[in-house]
Amino acid sequence: MPLVQFTYMGEIEMSEVVNFHGYLISSESNSFTIYSPYIVDDNRVFGHDSDYTTMAISLIKHLVINEVEFTIVSVDEKINFEVLQIATDIQLSENGRILGCGDDASLYLSSTKQSTVDQLAIPSTLMDVNLYQSMQIAWKSELDIRNISQGAYVSKQQYDESLSSRLSLIAQNDDKIIWPPRQMNSDGVTLSKESTNLSPKANVLTWTKLSAAGAPSEFAIRAPILGGLSTVMVEFDEGPKGVFLVVDDEDIVPKIGDSVEFVVRMLYGQEGIVRYGTKARICSSQL
């Protein structure tokens, strides 16, 4: 059963709205706004694994891909700037635009602060209110400071050590392209730091959907609500392979040979901290 029901609301002028990374981006004369596509009770809400930080990353990446020149003078405190910086390599400038959060699940890059956004012209997807509320409760439980590991655990130091590889798919170039990063080769030579960006797309080699009962503890609260977790193993054009969760809010069954793109989403929460990572979106299916 699909997790969401697609419905378009209001006047749609698709030429003004771009679908990117599962979000919607509109541009006006001097500003850009990125929206979550989901609506609950007339309110725009985040998808199951999205927040202001994940949307900010996608907006910046969209602008960079389209060679839009911009500088940023300030970033809303609701956005995790450390994660944004590692994922996009942005720096703050003395002058420039504001990266600000809207009152709903949207944010903007503009020279002036905006308090509201116009939703009427933005295509939207109705999300089941019960599903949305269940996920909100689950995230709240997961992010409780008392939600601690009693077994397997990825510490902040371990997580941070490879964060640039995790968030922006930067690989090592050591005769061959290596990702995720490794430390030393069999000659005893320490491998070079990450320096090469992997392609933003890759192909599915194999996949599985794990039942909620078998989910790792990090996902055990949300997996039953999602009906399990989908994972793909992909191969990049440059050679490395990797395993990635499929984004939580798109219920597409992968197939071997599918093309996927990579987006930053919330992976899980633990001890009060959101851990972000790269997930896969199925973007072209081999029929």
């Binding site: 009693q150 194999t206 599985t208 959907k209 794990l210 078998g214 989910a215």
Partner: protein
């Protein structure tokens, strides 16, 4: 160089135990001591190696010291060996090496895991701890998921379907039916196994081993002291181990286990025999796809023919050239992580000596093999056994 024989072997029944770790270990050790044909006392043991993941964290440190002091072995050098599900396969190899080195004459190798005394909330933190935590676990994978990735890719690369895995499940449940030590003793039909609850697509519940409590223990002796204990030893004619990338995505191929291939090649070479000489094999079928791959990696089937091997029933007891998992394997006998490797050896010791239940005895077996895998193949220990000593 000194040769090494098994002179005693015992285990607990696998399943849900009321006993704690100390009680389970003492039971397995007692059964091993009692299995020695001539007089044997634990004070004759020089050294002990005990495999355990220490699932649940109940006794993470100094596990071996605690267990051995509770089973009459106080004072000897001991250590816990940890290589995930291959812990006691490696403990066996370490014990074998201790005798080979000339430093010990009588050595215990064993394993233990207590898995079912945790609440479900606590247990979920301990499942999948032997994969690449940072990359695989955070991609949503525990081992059902990891092996499911391998299975789907195998079906894509070779002429095989999930039905081949179903045949493995049915066979192993049939083999385990009369095994009094087995965790799950029930005949499972093809349709039931095929249509089981989907755990990790394409693997159903009947493709997955259970989580079991259990302990196992074998007694090894140097050739010059074997006669003190038995006139009917089982010889370890080959012992080898290997490792590979921990994470599946780092391996060039996910439809073969290189660690198994490398360990098997060395073990066969050491024993002076080849795969076709093996009469029975206890292979690591934590998931049915793992047995399919093992039949290829150990040389019982050509690469890509593991599905056909299963489809043809080639591994069924007393029907083909080799009996695969006469105990029922991890699928039926059970999988108490740290105990599994030496539990395989217990089965082989009894099979080669003609001591298992009559109904499930492999006939005329001379040579056997055990194959113990850690995680999704990062570690592997292979042992080759014989009724006769390889001289």
């Amino acid at each position: 160089m000194v040769d090494v024989a098994i002179v005693g072997a015992g285990q607990t029944k696998y399943g849900n135990h009321q006993s704690g770790m100390k009680g389970m270990w003492a039971e397995a050790a007692y059964n091993a001591f009692q299995s020695v044909d001539k007089d044997f006392q634990p004070k004759q043991i020089d050294e002990a190696y005990i495999g355990s993941v220490a699932f649940g964290g109940g006794q993470l440190g100094n596990t071996a010291a605690l267990l051995t002091e509770h089973s009459g072995m106080k004072g000897i050098p001991v250590r816990r060996v940890e290589n995930a599900c291959a812990s006691s396969g490696f403990a066996l190899r370490d014990a074998w090496m201790a005798i080979k080195s000339g430093q010990a004459d009588v050595v215990i190798a064993g394993g233990i895991e207590k898995m079912n005394d945790l609440t479900p909330e606590r247990k979920r933190f301990w499942l999948g701890v032997s994969g690449d935590t940072e990359w695989e676990r955070l991609a949503g994978l525990t081992f059902p998921g990891t092996y499911a990735l391998m299975a789907r890719r195998y079906f894509h690369e070779f002429e095989s379907t999930h039905d081949d895995l179903v045949n493995i499940s049915v066979k192993n449940h049939w083999h385990g039916l009369d095994n009094e030590m087995a965790h799950i003793r029930k005949d499972v039909s093809f349709d039931k196994a095929k249509n089981g609850f989907m755990v990790a697509d394409p693997l159903t519940l009947y493709d997955c081993c259970p989580t079991s409590d259990g302990a196992s223990c074998v007694i090894l002796a140097a050739d010059h002291v074997v006669k003190q204990f038995t006139d009917d030893p089982v010889w370890i004619n080959g012992s080898a181990a290997a490792s590979d990338y921990l994470a599946l995505h780092d391996r060039p191929s996910i439809t073969q286990l290189i660690a198994t291939q490398n360990a098997a090649k060395k073990a066969y070479q050491m024993a002076g025999i080849e795969a076709h000489n093996i009469d029975l094999a206890e292979v690591h079928d934590c998931f049915t796809i793992a047995e399919l791959l093992a039949t290829e990696d150990l040389g019982f089937a050509q690469r890509g023919n593991g599905g056909k091997f299963a489809r043809d029933g080639a591994g069924r007891r007393n029907e083909g050239d080799v009996c695969i998992n006469p105990s029922g394997g991890l699928k039926s006998k059970g999988h108490p992580l740290g105990a599994t490797g030496t539990g395989q050896t217990v089965e082989i010791f009894k099979q080669l000596r003609g001591e298992v239940e009559q109904s499930r005895q492999v006939r005329d077996a001379e040579n056997a093999l055990s194959h113990n895998v850690g995680g999704s193949g990062a570690t592997c220990a292979v042992h080759v056994y014989g009724r006769n000593r390889n001289e």
